[in-house]
Symmetry: D2
Subunit: 288 residues, 4 copies
């Protein structure tokens, strides 16, 4: 018998009675033990979402995968069925993109080193060389892809090439100060997590701390979201706010906001890497 | 066929592979559709906890109850099995106990009136008559059981009698300033939710805001917990804190703390009434 | 000699060296003892703001007022000087306006009864009679001014008349579901505090919880602000947020948001009544 | 005339009328402009505390210092007068002490590098060599003073010697896992800021996350405080809490707690370095 392996099965479809009984029954027959199970039904359109974290007790995961790929459509012959089986031992290959601000990059690299992120960080890519010395002790390749004035198409072509070479699964924009074009997003297709330094949808676009100061808000926020074509409008994964006062200058907001950005981005990246995030109608379901 | 009915099934036992498959399969055979399902396994002792919220599509709930009482022990012939099936349409009978501070009572009565608490409030019992006028517009019987010096045994006997007459399921101590004796608790046996105005285990016992002020903490807290024989040491259901400064006097702490007490108690009572709270080793599992 | 009286002096002007020395020196000569003093200078335009809470030890406050009105312009012969002296013993006359949702009204009436609001609540005015029974035990006059379709000018004229008769200093919109016209605001001129059930500037306008649900935010908020002609765009006094998840329906957001609204509105009203709030460039300075 | 210099004046004494007028008047005569002023009177014992941040417009700070040292006792001939004048341009010399956990050290070194801490970090001292590689890119000397079994007196003697050689003003225990002896504290006498990973006074002493898990709390906390002879009982500077659930293992609490520790320690260290913290009766006054 194979050693126990762990896997995550994500399922979504139109909700029908018996889903849990059928799938749980089949997993049991295959010798799998469910460790955690989280489900959610969207009452508005009847869509059902399920995340199952299980261990194999009999057959190896490769065999199970073949079986489930064949069986699940028969067990759930229902509209809009989608599923994905992840080998929990296979770590995502993650690329961090930055510009000149270090805090989010430093935090992700530190968490990675201390075993808090279930991923291999295969590279840091920046449009500036400034942060290279800070990344060095973490022994992750640091690469510069400059973005010249009028040179964005060339830079994005180079970026696409490098992400492919690095076989990246997930890209994290850790205060990368460039907007990725719709053309780039159409070609890349894999998940990109961005941190925006406001409580979206308030203060989308450039200079959110300046906007927040001008409006005189009493809280500032940070939002981690998946990148979509419309700027700062993708599905939100995590948000947090912290109190500010009239005494806080724009620089104070930026300083206080850094702590929020770091925590919100780390929370979103962890959830994404653990396959706890599903998207539906430009919103996220986050199974915690 | 009967109209659809809704029910909550709580199960706990030593974790074994196949629990979910067996129970979900049996519920499906009985014509039940699982609406939400939450589970948790305590890694330290292998105890498994499960809350299933489901609707009946075929048989009436009364019939299902008989079936499950007979079948569950056979499906799960495992150590420490306990289960309980609740008819979601049957509301708890709840009694609120208060002394002279109105805020928690007012909040629970307001929430009840606005449909936020899934219970019938069958009475308010106090050791003082002061709050009667404030309870009156909510049309809930208000009753005074005074506690004389050296008269606690008599008062508790009277209280026990009244709770029995009111057929109370749940008692909420909404800033009731008397300690219930171990003898009373042994006789009563049903759940009692208390709000303590500190972040337990800090500042247990009398005058927690005075204790907090003396220690010079920068946050104050509130804790809702089940009452057990040891004072302020029962399983914690909900907690919250809020910032204070050196400028806050004991009176300020009491004023700021009121908002915390109200919110924490309401959150705990809602979770308790919805059967989202299980206890294990003097801790709670709260399925949200 | 008169008994000690307490007063609040608010001063603003373009910042110049010596302000504190001159005014504190003059108050000392007049036999006043400063209890608390808070100041702030806006670095962008050099505006200085000062709140002094003091007690009189020699002359009565009426005499002091005459003296200060004559002396302050000489002590501070500077641009944009404005000052206001408040007798701390004189309570604001406050009117609460509501529609059909009770929670904010109930909370303000409760806090008032328990001595937490330094004001006389001289009336509750609603466009609907629904909440009258809940207001009754607090012994505050409840009055209905209905707003008919196409009848807003008449309703506002009546409202203006009543506020004048009640000699209201402060109006609080405690989930009053009507927009007050620019014409009304021009005539009324005194401060109006509103609670909006979102984290402004996100989700201004109608149905903010629906907007929040559609955008899929992970926090909801509440904002208390002074009313100005532009809807939901006045100076913000207080804000707070609380976490929500994909499981929360619009109704859940409304329920969770109620607790925020109540706390944020009470905080703003307390600060306003204590003369802790100054406005400048559509922002507030809140001295806490 | 000298260039403008900035200074902080901390004053405490028994409160008497006229303090502000006298001192503000004298500073004005000396050609000083008050930038911010914060005061607090402890109502219990009548102690008055004042922090004045001012700039010199005429005389150099050295001259002012001589003047104030001579004049203040005459201006305020009152009980328990203490004052201290700090040159705002003179940065504290700070030493960070660590054991094997990197997060607090990394955070302080990062904030220092990004200009957020108004101090010179003159050394990191550890009882283990493990963290040296992570400190290296920040170009701060890293030194190991091992603590052998039964060798604490020797280690503390060596530590005392090194702190003196480094001319340290402030020591920060950034998860330094050794208790400093009363004897050491008596000799050192300068402020030591410690981060304790619980919401003190709950869970003082060793393994607070284990204690928290066993008690089943729904929030964990972190506390930054000045070190005194009694373990974890010194004046509290800053605290924060974050929500946890029954699902969180002790390892999860430790992971979630790291973010709290980092933020709370940084906040306390910033306030301490900015001379915003005064202590009184084992409590702190923190002027923000």
């Amino acid at each position: 018998m194979a050693d126990s392996e762990k896997a995550i099965l994500l399922i979504s479809c139109i909700d029908r009675p018996g889903i849990i009984a059928r799938v749980a029954g089949h997993l049991f027959e295959l010798g799998c033990n469910i460790i955690t199970s989280d489900q959610y039904t969207d009452d508005e359109d009847g869509h059902f979402f399920w995340r199952i974290y299980f261990e194999t007790l009999k057959a190896p995961l490769s065999e199970l995968t073949r079986d489930l790929n064949a069986t699940l459509p028969q067990l759930m012959p229902w509209e809009k069925l989608r599923w994905h089986l992840y080998d929990a031992a296979k770590r995502d290959r993650m690329v961090i993109m930055v510009s000149r601000l270090a805090h989010c990059m430093m935090d992700l690299l530190s968490r990675h080193r201390f075993g808090e992120l279930d991923a291999d960080i295969v590279g840091v890519i920046s449009n500036h060389p400034d942060l290279e010395p800070l990344a060095r002790p973490f022994e992750v390749p640091f690469e510069v892809i400059p973005v010249q004035k009028d040179g964005k198409p060339q830079a994005e072509a180079r970026l696409l090439e490098r992400l492919a070479e690095l076989r990246a699964d997930t890209v994290v924009l850790a205060r990368y100060m460039q907007v990725l074009s719709g053309d780039f997003l159409k070609r890349w297709q894999k998940p990109i997590v961005n941190i925006h330094h406001s409580f979206l949808p308030a203060f989308a676009g450039p200079r959110p701390y300046k906007q927040a100061h001008e409006r005189g808000v009493k809280l500032i926020g940070a939002t981690a979201h998946y990148v979509t074509e419309e700027l700062d409008a993708g599905p939100i994964i995590a948000q947090a706010t912290t109190a500010v006062t009239h005494r806080d200058t724009i620089a104070d907001l930026a300083r206080k906001g850094k702590d929020l950005e770091v925590i919100v981005l780390a929370k979103a990246v962890r959830a994404h890497l653990n396959k706890q995030v599903l998207t539906h109608n430009n919103r996220t379901i986050v199974f915690e």
